[in-house]
Amino acid sequence: MSKDELNIKDNTSLFKEERYVQQRENKKQFEAPCSEQETAEALAYSKSAEYMEKNFNRQNVVINPHKACQPLGSVMAALGFEKTLPFVHGSQGCNAYFRSHLSRHFKEPTPSVSTSMTEDAAVFGGMNNLIDGLENSVALYKPEMVAICTTCMAEVIGDDLNSFIGNARIKGVISEEYPVAYCNTPSFVGSHITGYDAMIKGILSYLYTRSGIESKPGSGADSGEKLNVLLGFEPYTGNFAELRKILAAFDTKYTILGDHSGNYDSPATGEYEYYYGGTKLEDVPQAANALGTLSLQKYTLKKTQEYISGTWNQQISALSTPLGIKGTDQLLEAISELTGLPVPASLTEERGRVVDALMDSHPYLHGKRVALVGDPDLLIGLIGFCLETGMEPVHIVCSNGDVDYNEVKFKDEAEALLATSPYGSEATVHVGKDLWHMRSLLLNDTVDLAIGSSHLKFAAKDADVPLIRVGFPIFDRHHMHRYPIIGYQGTLNLLSLIVNTILQQLDDNHSGFNFELVR
């Protein structure tokens, strides 16, 4: 049948029809009793410098937040381990939110369960829910490990996970040997990145302690040749693949600690499994004997890094998300230093090709003013990338800064990085601010591009600035997370995304004489 045989309109075009426009007009009688002029004035005021000042003086209400909560990060962390079931201790809705949030970003199912605490649990504590929940979920989903995180509710009433899990074993609901890792993650503290960190540390320390292995860094018979790699709260499955490609080029053995790319990028085979990929549980205690650890999100993984350098007594190279040429150079140098292996010629060649691509595009990037929103490590990477392409970061908003690493806070590092380049001289870094602050910034001091998650689209639309979707969550575009943004290949992807958006804009906004074939 021809596609247009019947002209059935979707809601995008249908509601532009006269009768619906009329209907909308009729409804205005119910709306706020002010004239169109007053509405226009209020809108104009909300875009003014005077309002921006008031907006920035706002103390109590958060408008359009740009962070998720700790247990959401914990669920993602738990999915990085083989046959591990994320288990959320609290009321049921939290788990539903985490699952839909993660699934909307990755377009994949998210297996995770809840203890479904209700009013009686609020009064008597959630122990019975936890014990019943362990019994039910282990029987139904047959995980090889359960990874429990808490929510606000469990934390406010002060549930003691350690003793509850102990009681579950005493009651025989799970055996003495059955692995159950846990962490405390109330959402009134931290954000998704601290929750990610808490669960990774929880799993590493739990599996290591119970194994009875004593860490001897760099001295294990076989494992001493291995490198540990942590990617952190990583919304890009493509970044795992890119890192594997780089490590393969080095020809080093490695263990990724927390690899959720399998769960979030599984093939369509016609049959769904619960568990795809993930770090093998037996590899975790062995990781204590590794050559050293490479961490790609130093602010995110603060506690995990402390644990690894302290308890495992291991050398750590902690970077922020390696974006751009320099960011990737640092990554390769870190791998080289930790493993003692030289940087392979193939990567040097790839570097040259991407530098060539950056040169090809540089006339379109130079001097472009950019607004950035994201998690701390991503922002450090993005700032570095902007500076090396001649783009000028102007507004930088980080709702979940100011995490510190080795007593350097995110804001300090970001400002120090910006100060290394004349292209960073206009930038201001706003920590703990939300997207309504960003809206004021975009409207008062205009930029050419905004870079951030889908949530930024409203402010970007208000300010008529094109949005490059980078980070988490990306709900309204498909497959972004399948392409890497780290490494040289990732740099090329990011470059194409940005430069082609700019070129599209040139085509869209041409005034006739400059609708050119060659750009």
Binding site: D10, V61, S91, Y97, S100, P109, S116, D132, C152, G270
Partner: protein, 467 residues
């Protein structure tokens, strides 16, 4: 056996009611025999919480401000995530939160709440502010009602506490608690303009993908006016005079039947449960409205309209019917859609071979039974895997369910249509049925299914599943 781990989010496994008084009065007109709404089972992937449910019901009041009193995540994880469309104001889209931190948990967040309300009132001048409690604020004993009450007096606009913290129970209970808040604080507090023609309240229609607009157009063509939208694409003010309507139509019975019953006893407004999925149900609903309005002329207009629309539809559907005839579907949704979509599908020649019942009231189940054959399988418990099992066993051609069962269906290579709150297509009314026919055809006929089902050319092994 695979189980309900995969079911996700909003429209999912239904859904306990924790307050006994709701059991008899709001779960359908037949009093349930046993516990109709079992408590959520720990260790499964339960659906949304009461906080979620309350927001779903009230967020479509588009010109109001909706402030979440709690830690950041309850707002941060939920703002702007439903497809409920607005024809004008969009304040409802803003994610407002008090963002409580650990020191607020110890010292209390009432001051923060008060200042947040003041800020929103001053900056955004909404007609009303809805304030939602969360697990945390309920547990630490915030006196939200008092803060809202004094704030309302201070700023001179209604500030409505919605006491529906997540832990009190299911999303469904939250819908009802939101209905309670409307009864207690909104309905009956305003009066329509003297010349406003009064008509029908649409209750439990959230204007997903703009369905409300198609419905309104139909009603208006028959001369029936909408008095209040509770709450799809609603304005605060129109809900204040909902008690002046002549008829209540309950579109989603699971959510807000209690509200209609209470309005009947308080204000003497007759109500009926109806649907706009499928031509038959649409015609029935319009007729029912005119009948309860007790207006003969209106009834005649409805008859003329429905006859004309049905005739045109039947003509337009012809090519689709040919393609859809004999196709088998598994339907997994809740409330009104569980039975009315069956009607719609039957009109298209599609046979429903499996249907979810765990989110349906006893009335719903009876209506399902009236509409399906004996060999239709009832799916009493949640979970995409359970649904998929039915698809396989009953050799269904397509799965019709909520958006978050979609990714599992894709993994299993099953053609899929999203019928729940994340859909982007409006399926209500006569035109909606055409859209449904078109979407079914597209989903079934897409070449990707053949490609997905055939192994790579060098892989000699046959595909394990041959549908």
């Amino acid at each position: 056996m695979k189980h309900s781990i995969l079911s996700e989010g909003d429209e999912e496994p239904m859904d306990p009611v924790r307050k006994d008084e709701f059991d008899s009065e709001a779960c359908g007109s037949i009093a349930p025999k046993a516990k109709p709404c079992p408590r959520p089972k720990p260790g499964e992937a339960a659906g949304g919480c009461s906080f979620d449910g309350a927001q779903i019901t009230l967020l479509p009041i588009m010109d109001a401000a909706h402030l979440v009193h709690g830690p950041i995540a309850c707002a941060g994880n939920s703002w702007e995530s439903r497809g409920t469309l607005s024809s004008g104001p969009c304040l409802s889209q803003y994610g407002f939160a008090t963002d409580l931190t650990d020191s607020d948990i110890i010292f209390g967040g009432e001051k923060k709440l008060k200042e947040s309300i003041d800020y929103i009132a001053e900056r955004f001048a909404p007609p009303a502010i809805f304030v939602y409690s969360t697990c945390v604020t309920a547990l630490i004993g915030e006196d939200m009602d008092a803060v809202c009450k004094t704030a309302a007096e201070r700023i001179g606009i209604p500030v409505i506490p919605v006491n529906s913290p997540g832990f009190v129970g299911s999303k469904n209970l939250g819908n009802r608690l939101a209905g309670d808040a409307l009864l207690q604080y909104v309905i009956g507090t305003g009066e329509p303009e003297p010349l406003t023609p009064l008509g029908v309240n649409l209750i439990g229609e959230y204007n997903i993908a703009g369905e409300m607009w198609d419905i309104e157009k139909l009603m208006n063509s028959a001369g029936i006016t909408v008095t209040s939208r509770i709450t799809g694409d609603a304005r605060y003010k129109e809900i204040t005079w909902a008690h002046r309507a002549k008829v209540n139509m309950v579109v989603c019975s699971r959510a807000l039947l209690g509200l209609a019953k209470e309005m009947e006893s308080r204000y003497g407004i007759p109500y009926f449960e109806g649907s706009f999925y499928g031509a038959k149900e649409t015609t029935y609903s319009l007729r029912q409205m005119a009948f309860l309005m007790n207006d003969r002329e209106m009834e005649r207009r409805v008859d003329r309209l429905t006859e004309r629309e049905e005739a045109r539809l039947s003509q337009d559907l012809r090519p689709y019917r040919k393609l859809l005839k004999g196709k088998r579907a598994v339907l997994y949704t809740g409330g009104v859609k569980s039975w009315s979509v069956i009607s719609a599908l039957k009109e298209l020649g599609v046979q429903v071979v499996g249907v979810g019942t765990n989110k349906s009231t006893e009335d719903d189940v009876r209506r399902i039974a009236d509409r399906v054959g004996d060999d239709t399988e009832y799916i009493p418990e949640g979970g995409a895997s359970r649904i998929i099992k039915t698809v396989r066993e009953r050799k269904a051609d397509i799965m019709i369910a909520g958006g978050r069962n979609m990714y599992v269906a894709m993994k299993e290579q099953i053609p899929f249509i999203d019928i729940n709150q994340e859909r982007h297509k409006a399926y209500a009314g006569y035109e909606g049925l055409l859209r449904l026919a078109k979407e079914l055809t597209y989903s079934l006929a897409n070449p990707i299914w053949k490609l997905a089902a055939s192994p790579a050319p060098w892989d000699k092994e046959a595909h394990p599943y041959d549908r």
